[in-house]
């Protein structure tokens, strides 16, 4: 079923002329999508995703989750359970005495029994790459990366249909960023659930996304495949977006070594394949 937006508008300050998001139409499946949401700071990305689990209610237009209108549902928690939201710096939401207690906090709020929730906690801890021994520790004695994994596990344990992450790699070192993205890829591949990631990193977009949505000045300016976005020179300039590394490399090789490789390589593997094919 997924998420549907019909002509959604939102302003934080109604007296102000400035929209946070404007005229948004969108359809997101709950299966098999890996969506990267990009755009400059202040373009409305966070506002957009907060509409998806009813944290913000649209000024006008309709947001539907699993077919039911978010504004009209009696129980907003049913929406929040279906659409799991991980905020920027999610480690700041931890508060329980042990990691396990923090992970089961979400599920028990949604009425899952404690026993089941603990089983689920063990499972998701493994999925996000945390040792079982960590479950008994205090979340405040962990490293930054581990804390973030715990917070993500806490949302995964709610078993949402769709997982949304707002800039999940900020503040991590390059290795940590890569591990984090690999984790989402793994979750996506094992559960098939749709994942939406807000990011500024075009390499992430090119390597992981099955679909890209670009926001600019409160409006949706692009919605489609990464390849179509990155091969459209004019559009990239208009949206002020950079090219991903592998496309840049392919272009450089073509220019410096006078080759004629396809420049639409979105990952290292694709680039190598293209080079091997060309030689």
């Amino acid at each position: 079923m997924g998420i549907e937006f019909e002509n959604v508008n939102y302003k934080y300050d109604k007296r102000n002329a400035k929209y946070a998001i404007k005229n948004i139409d969108l359809k997101i499946d709950s299966l098999n999508e890996f969506i990267c949401l990009v755009g400059h700071t202040g373009s409305g990305k966070s506002t957009l995703i907060q509409h998806m689990n009813g944290l913000i209610l649209a000024n006008s237009g309709i947001v539907k989750v699993s077919g039911s209108d978010v504004k009209k549902t009696r129980n907003i928690n049913s929406v929040r359970r279906k659409v799991g939201m991980v905020f920027q710096f999610p480690e700041y939401q931890l508060f329980e005495e042990t990691v396990e207690k923090d992970i089961i906090f979400g599920p028990t709020n949604f009425g899952v029994s404690k026993k089941e929730a603990i089983l689920k906690a063990k499972e998701v801890a493994k999925l996000v790459g945390l040792e079982q021994t960590i479950l008994e520790k205090s979340p405040f004695n962990l490293s930054g990366g581990e804390m973030r994994r715990v917070a993500i596990a806490g949302v995964l344990a709610m078993e949402p249909d769709i997982l949304i992450l707002d800039e999940p790699t900020v503040g991590l070192d390059p290795k940590g960023q890569r591990e984090m993205m690999e984790l989402f890829k793994k979750i996506h591949q094992t559960t098939k659930k749709t994942i939406i990631v807000v990011t500024h990193d075009m390499d992430v977009v090119s390597e992981y996304s099955t679909r890209v949505i670009v926001m600019k000045e409160a409006e949706k300016k692009f919605d489609g495949l990464a390849r179509d976005l990155f091969l459209d020179q004019k559009l990239l300039e208009e949206l002020n977006l950079k090219k991903p590394t592998y496309i840049k490399i392919a272009e450089k090789i073509n220019k410096k070594l006078n080759r004629n490789y396809q420049i639409g390589c979105l990952s290292l593997a694709e680039l190598i394949k293209e080079i091997v094919k060309g030689e």
Binding site: L55, R81, M85, Y92, Q93, F95, M158
Partner: protein, 317 residues
């Protein structure tokens, strides 16, 4: 969220231009004045004076009314308490309440209606007062055969003293609001620091205190932002901040407070490192950027304030 504390409104008026030290001193003198006055008439005169200040400060009266809203309950309570329990002076009027089955039944109906309307978000203190007044009115009607009649006497001194206290609260609140609305938090803090400077002799850490105040003021909006974010994160994990029984409320508050403490300590740590890196050392003498200087209007103001106080003492005794 609406923070009244430290809310400065930029206008170009003589009140804005006054030296913050003078404004603080004058406010203190005014406060002493309201506590030395003992008659309602004098209190009303002071209110008129404050009103004149507000008008010339070019700040909308609405802001002052807003600052009074949180005190509505206290004000009403003070007034009603005086009217009901102060039994001095002559009786000016008597309210006859008829307790009969019909009036009590109507009373119950009104209360049920009030509770139902509350569900539709019709609530608030004004609404409560209106309902309360209506219930009293019900009892004064001559409905049914009363099995008990209560006579409520209204005494003159109860009424005047109730009004007296009411006006005093209004004066204190609006005058303080006038100070914070017309003075930038930084200036206010600067003025306070300068006024308290003599306390340094008594080993009071005036500079550090003023630094703490300015940091606190600076971080109020930042922390409110953080509260908002944490609330959203916890709401996404199924916390419903709008409802819940006591046990759930405790969990809700803990889920908000613990992260807030963690964030505040982290911020404090970062800030203290940044301050140290820029050469701040507690207790060390620092030079000032904005040096306060009295002008003619400031001297005039303080002169006026003092003569006001003398006047009060003279007329009241």
């Amino acid at each position: 969220m609406n923070v009244i504390v430290g809310r400065y409104i930029n206008r170009n008026s003589w009140v804005h231009r006054l030296d913050p030290r003078m404004k603080i001193l004058s406010l203190i003198i005014l406060m002493i004045g309201t506590f030395m006055t003992s008659t309602l008439i004098n209190m009303l005169w002071i209110l008129a004076g404050v009103f004149l200040l507000i008008l010339t400060s070019k700040i909308s009266l609405l802001n002052f009314i807003k600052s009074l809203v949180p005190l509505l309950f206290l004000m009403t309570f003070t007034f009603v308490f005086q009217v009901l329990f102060n039994k001095q002076g002559p009786i000016i009027s008597t309210l006859t309440l008829n307790l009969s089955f019909i009036t009590i039944l109507l009373n119950v109906v009104v209360i049920i209606g009030y509770q139902i309307l509350k569900r539709f978000r019709i609530r608030g203190f004004f609404w409560f007062l209106l309902t309360f007044a209506f219930i009293i009115y019900l009892y004064t009607l001559n409905l049914g055969t009363p099995f008990k009649i209560i006579n409520l006497n209204l005494y003159r001194d109860g009424l005047t003293f109730g009004l007296f206290l009411l006006v005093r609260i209004i004066i204190l609140v609006s005058a303080s609001s006038l100070l914070t609305l017309t003075t930038k938090p930084a200036d206010l803090n600067n003025g306070l620091e300068r006024l308290m400077k003599p306390l340094k002799v008594l080993k009071v850490p005036v500079d550090e205190m003023s630094m703490m105040i300015s940091i606190a003021l600076r971080f109020i909006p930042t922390l409110l932002d953080e509260v908002n974010k944490i609330m959203k994160a916890q709401a996404s994990r199924g916390v419903d901040f709008a409802s819940g029984n006591i046990k759930k409320k405790v969990v809700q508050i803990v889920s908000l407070l613990v992260p807030m403490f963690v964030i505040s300590f982290k911020r404090a740590d970062d800030l203290s490192n940044a301050m140290e890196a820029r050469g701040y050392f507690p207790g060390m003498e620092r030079s000032k950027f904005g040096i306060l200087k009295f002008r003619f209007s400031d001297y005039l103001t303080i002169l006026f304030s003092i003569s006001f106080l003398v006047g009060i003492v003279y007329f009241d005794l």
